[in-house]
């Protein structure tokens, strides 16, 4: 018999302590967690990243294989376990055996793997590991534990606990994994003020970037009497290079809902919004299902579990504006206006959505709450550094061996994350910098790799925690180009309300464009202008920081100021030598034709858009430097490798 809704409510949710559950119920929960199964189960990592890597075909082929062999088994799409570079991932749980994981299971590899595993043997490749817990189940001989994999070992997974492991759209499985106990205990055992104080004591700080103490913020909202209060979950992950919110919602939407429910109770809100990017269709889909399931169980709605508490959770799709990550802009967007920030105070905790007290927290902040309530404030505050407690999820991407999501305790060094967890830089290249905090953050270079991660230490070296994006760069990355990239982004996303941000970022972009473009005329003052530009950049950056209205503007110059601090020599090379050492800035490339190799076929001369190539038929050709716009068309056209770039 499968445990159903009434069974779970009666035997699990109505008990405050896990220890009160009898052995029969515990066995049912193990079955629900798919740790003890009668028929085989196949799990496919099917987050957006998994699907991008081809998990759709993997799943289809697995089903076809099962049909062909007439085997009765379940195929369950799960979220992302975090190891994006090994996608698609496929796990198999045979009855009586431990769950085993395979990596890089593209569609064509499915049959080979299933043939072996269902025959009880192991294929040569590509076993990732087997699950460590599941004591009652038999081990696969000679297979390492997944938890001992170099990528997972240094991690401490609280927020990502269930991601990639459990079925994200099964509330039963979530309940079997201790789900919603924290919420119901909160309603039964804590007063609102006690809950706010409890979270303040745990030391949890906002994971969206600013790092404001969560409990303190809640207490502010609680202290304000109002007929209606609102709670908002900020899932508008606009920061390019960060995708933890998406992964958490796709992989474990119930954890977010439970966290939100706890927070809503603590501040006395009866209506909660999830403001989520429209670019995350899969996350929205799973969240809709999860809300429906929670409502069906009576965990959301009116008079929750007879406590007299009401809660409504509504999804609002963002419409694509980076500035809406800012609290007051986000509120305006929900109200149906342009997403522009307003001056604070009054803070949203005093006057927010529709003029009512409103608390806005990030997805990761909410997802921390259930575990903190279950395990205690002291447990949480014992982890991390003096000022930053708990763990932080980072999204690793860029020039790095293993890309993906990791959750590590605060206080770990950046070097450990990049070189131990993520396996360092591929292709024998040299590490140059890691960009942290997205468009509001900065770069951390080799000299600062050994700092312990917490909110303060990162700010000290000119970067910031931000939402936790870590983009790793190697020697082939041009830092001026990166600064230009962020400036271009910010300049487009600036809402236009205040002048320093609207005009200043555009001017900064123009200066960067000027030093990365080909000098046009040597007789004018252009070389001087290029040189002066760099001096102006610093001054302009400081003015924008000091005078902008909101967080977006105040942090907009950070990527430029940070690269200027650490990579001034690269800027100087661009200005004085007109050279980009990484070869990224296309306009600074100098093209020449190798007389030895040129056969005079005239193909390049025909392709050249500016007629900069001269030379007769069957004669070596030449490029006129003043006419050349460094577009590279000749290099692409040449069949004899005669066009050289320097």
């Amino acid at each position: 018999m499968m445990a159903d809704k009434s069974y779970l409510i009666e035997h699990v949710l109505n008990h405050s302590e896990k220890e009160q559950l009898n052995p029969e119920v515990l066995k049912q929960l193990r079955v629900l967690r798919l740790e003890e199964n009668d028929k085989p189960v196949i799990f496919v990592g099917a987050g957006t990243c998994g699907l991008g890597a081809g998990a759709g075909l993997t799943m289809k082929n697995a089903k076809t294989w099962l049909d062909e062999h007439q085997i009765d088994a379940d195929v369950i799409p799960v979220g992302c376990i975090g190891l994006c570079s090994s996608e698609p991932l496929l796990d198999i749980k045979l009855p009586g055996k431990k769950r085993i994981s395979f990596e890089k299971v593209s569609g064509d590899r499915v049959n080979g793997i299933l043939d072996h595993v269902f025959a009880g043997t192991l294929p040569e490749q590509p076993v990732l590991g087997q699950f460590k817990n599941q004591e009652s189940q038999q081990e696969w001989v000679g297979v390492p534990y997944l938890q001992d994999h170099s990528f997972f070992k240094p991690q401490l997974r609280i927020v990502l606990e269930n991601c990639g492991i459990s079925n994200p759209v099964s509330i039963e499985e979530y309940i079997a994994r201790d789900g919603y106990r924290a919420y119901l205990n909160t309603l039964k055992l804590f007063s609102r003020r006690e809950m706010c104080d409890f979270i303040e004591k745990s030391g949890l700080r906002g994971r969206g970037g600013g790092g404001f103490p969560t409990g303190k913020k809640w207490n502010m909202a609680l202290a304000n009497e109002a007929d209606q209060k609102y709670l908002i979950c900020n899932a508008d992950e606009g920061d390019p290079g960060a995708f933890m919110d998406r992964a958490v919602i796709e992989g474990d939407p119930h954890k977010l809902l439970e966290g939100m429910a706890i927070a809503a109770y603590a501040i006395g809100a009866t209506k909660a919004y999830v403001y989520i990017r429209a670019e995350y269709p899969l996350a929205i889909e799973r969240l809709v299902i999860a809300i429906e399931q929670a409502r069906n169980y009576g965990l959301i709605g009116k008079n929750i579990f007879g406590t007299g508490i009401d809660l409504e959770i509504v999804i609002k799709k963002g419409a694509g504006a980076f500035v809406c990550g800012e609290e007051t802009a986000l509120i305006h967007s929900i109200e149906g206006k342009r997403g522009m920030p307003r001056p604070r105070p009054p803070y949203p905790a005093v006057s927010g959505l529709f003029g009512k007290p409103t608390i806005i927290n990030n997805v990761e902040t909410f997802s921390n709450l259930p575990t903190i309530v279950n395990k205690g404030a002291d447990w949480f505050s014992n982890m991390g550094t003096a000022t930053s407690k708990g763990t932080k999820v980072f999204a690793l991407s860029g020039k790095i061996s293993l890309t993906g999501l990791v959750e590590i305790p605060m206080g770990t060094t950046i070097r450990d994350i990049i070189f131990k967890v993520a396996g360092g830089i591929p292709n024998g290249k040299k590490f140059k910098a890691v960009q942290m905090g997205g468009p509001s953050g900065g770069c951390v270079t080799e000299v600062n790799l050994d700092i312990q991660i917490d909110y303060e230490s990162l700010v000290k070296v000119g970067a910031m925690m931000g939402s936790g994006g870590m983009v790793v760069m190697d020697e082939d990355t041009c830092m001026v180009d990166i600064a230009k990239f962020f400036m271009d982004f910010i300049q487009r996303e600036s809402c236009g309300k205040c002048i320093p941000c609207r005009e200043g970022t555009r001017r900064m972009l123009e200066i960067l464009e000027s030093i990365t473009s080909k000098p046009k005329n040597r007789e004018t003052h252009e070389p001087l202008a290029r040189f002066k530009g760099v001096l102006q950049l610093e001054k302009l950056g400081k003015v924008i920081k000091d005078t902008s209205l909101c967080g977006l503007g105040q942090s907009a110059p950070n990527p430029v100021l940070s690269t200027l601090t650490w990579f001034r020599n690269e800027y100087e090379e661009h200005v004085f030598d007109k050279k980009c050492r990484a070869g990224v800035c296309q306009n600074l490339r100098v093209y020449t034709i190798d007389v030895e190799n040129c056969t005079g076929c005239t193909v390049c001369a025909k392709k050249c858009p500016t007629n900069a190539i001269i030379g007769g038929r069957k004669q070596p050709h030449f490029i006129i430097p003043d006419k050349c716009i460094s577009c590279g068309a000749c290099e692409e056209a040449c069949n004899f490798n005669a066009v050289k770039v320097s």
Binding site: T48, G52, A53, K316, R338, F489
Partner: protein, 156 residues
């Protein structure tokens, strides 16, 4: 007056100004873009000036005012994609489809859009065509991908 828009508006009874963005999103989902007529229609329904609605709609990146092509190509220009060469990928697509970002090809087959971040940074550079993701694209693989969609069209 378009019946389709009436049907959409009917799903938002007693709409207040805060329903504006969801309604516009719904219209775009159904029609593919926001036409001038539809904006006027929404304005009448919400009792808001059209200028105000355009003010809101143009503020957000999501809203389009031209009909998209049959295959809508989204190129991710997030940081991770940029570091791994999405600029060249975008160039190649623009050349291949002979349109610039934000445009629709003459045969209405392809339209191109640049997005800030798709959120699949681990697989950078990423593009998405009608919601199908293509990971780790290069200027070489782009040609095959686009060709595949062109062939699909021929076969139909």
């Amino acid at each position: 007056m378009s019946i389709a828009i009436q049907e959409i508006l009917a799903k938002y009874p007693n709409a207040k100004p805060d329903s504006l963005i969801p309604i516009l999103q719904h219209v775009q989902e159904q029609m593919g873009f926001l036409s001038e007529d539809s904006v006027v229609e929404v304005g009448k329904y919400l009792n808001m000036p059209t200028s105000k609605i355009f003010g809101v709609a143009t503020f957000y990146n999501q809203f389009r005012f031209n009909a998209p092509g049959k295959y809508h190509v989204m190129v991710c220009r997030g940081t991770a994609c940029h570091v791994l060469g999405s600029a060249t990928v975008l160039d190649e697509i623009e050349k291949n489809l002979r349109i610039k970002a934000g445009q629709t090809s003459k045969d209405k087959l392809f339209s191109l859009e640049v997005v800030a971040c798709i959120g699949a940074c681990g697989l950078a550079p990423v593009i998405s065509i009608n919601g199908e993701f293509h990971a780790k694209v290069t200027s070489e693989s782009i040609k095959t991908i686009v060709e595949e969609y062109r062939n699909r069209e021929v076969q139909q």
